[in-house]
């Protein structure tokens, strides 16, 4: 049953289309992004963005004034996370965005950082 989604019905386009944007790539060859890697447009470089794919231009627009996580961009553009990661990799190659990776597996959080988060939650 599940395989039929690829051949018939209105969903077909929805499953294949996103990867047309990336030329079929599901991963970027150079850059690894996490769900919460933050992305912000380099405002000084927006003038160079004229030739971009509409989706890539849309990412720059969303991240113009604020940092957004890869997951937020994916949700706002209604694209799979992996497609957004590829597009962001291309934007990073073109020096059009700045990115901030989250603490990784080896970066165990400090007591101080955890307490800052606790204070922030208490104040909500």
């Amino acid at each position: 049953m599940p395989e039929q989604r690829w051949r018939t019905g209105p969903e077909t386009g929805r499953y294949l289309r996103p990867y047309a944007i990336t030329g079929g790539r599901t991963r970027h060859s150079q850059h690894a992004f996490a769900l919460i890697t933050l992305v912000v447009a380099r405002t000084a470089h927006l003038a160079d963005a004229g030739h971009l794919e509409p989706e890539a231009a849309h990412i720059l627009h969303l991240c113009r004034d604020r940092a957004l996580a890869v997951a937020e961009i994916a949700a706002l553009l209604d694209l799979p996370v992996s497609v957004v990661k590829v597009l962001c990799g291309d934007l990073l190659d073109a020096s059009l965005i700045l990115v901030q990776s989250p603490p990784g597996r080896e970066d165990q959080p400090s007591v101080e950082l955890i307490e800052r988060v606790m204070d922030g939650i208490r104040q909500l």
Partner: protein
């Protein structure tokens, strides 16, 4: 260049648990934005396929999840990710759990076993977590101690009664997770210090 913005650091906490146990409700009750939804395709991205050439005919599993955001400070943002309740495939979504500060496992006392898979997952990965007993219909029909015993939890794992529709209650659950994470961080510090 002074026009370039300061980049904040992003952290995350996962909200896991069985189908319909209140994960999305909890994300919504503490998030500063309405819960957003995003998805990943397990076949392509997480099963080690870099390129779609040749795999077009293969079925993929789409795993959707919702998330919210809490700005702790201009330079510190916390994301809350609700995991998909029914779909076991999220366990293969490495990026989801990697680097998480901690996790909430929501449970319903009428079907505790629906949360066992999440508990195993976080125990195996050493991710600090707290169990929130979501009191549907005001049912406070058992104590945290009884649940802890029934689930065979480490006694250090916090178990709290909650109603995740209520923001204060959801905050309390998050603080319990962070207490577990802080205890873990303190213990790490103590054992590193003791080694000298």
């Amino acid at each position: 260049m002074n026009s370039e913005p300061v980049m904040p650091t992003a952290l995350k906490i996962l909200i896991a648990g069985g189908f319909g146990v209140g994960k999305t409700t909890m994300v919504g009750s503490v998030s500063e934005v309405p819960p957003l939804e995003t998805e990943e395709r397990m076949t392509e991205a997480s099963l080690g396929v870099d390129d779609l050439a040749g795999v077009e005919g293969k079925a993929s599993t789409t795993v959707a999840m919702d998330f919210g955001r809490i700005t702790i400070a201009p330079e510190l943002v916390l994301y809350l990710f609700g995991t998909p309740g029914q779909d076991r495939f999220w366990f293969m979504w490495d990026d989801l759990a990697m680097g998480a500060l901690g996790a909430v496992v929501l449970a319903d006392t009428r079907r505790l076993q629906a949360s066992f898979a999440s508990i195993d997952f976080f125990e195996e990965r050493g991710i600090p977590f707290a169990v929130g007993i979501n009191c549907f219909h005001g049912r406070r029909d058992c104590t945290p101690e009884q649940v802890s015993a029934a689930m065979d939890l480490d006694p250090a794992t916090p178990v709290v009664l909650c109603d995740v529709r209520d923001r204060a209650s959801s905050k309390h659950v998050l603080l319990s997770v962070l207490e577990a994470a802080r205890a873990r961080a303190s213990a790490r510090l103590a054992s590193a210090g003791g080694g000298h």
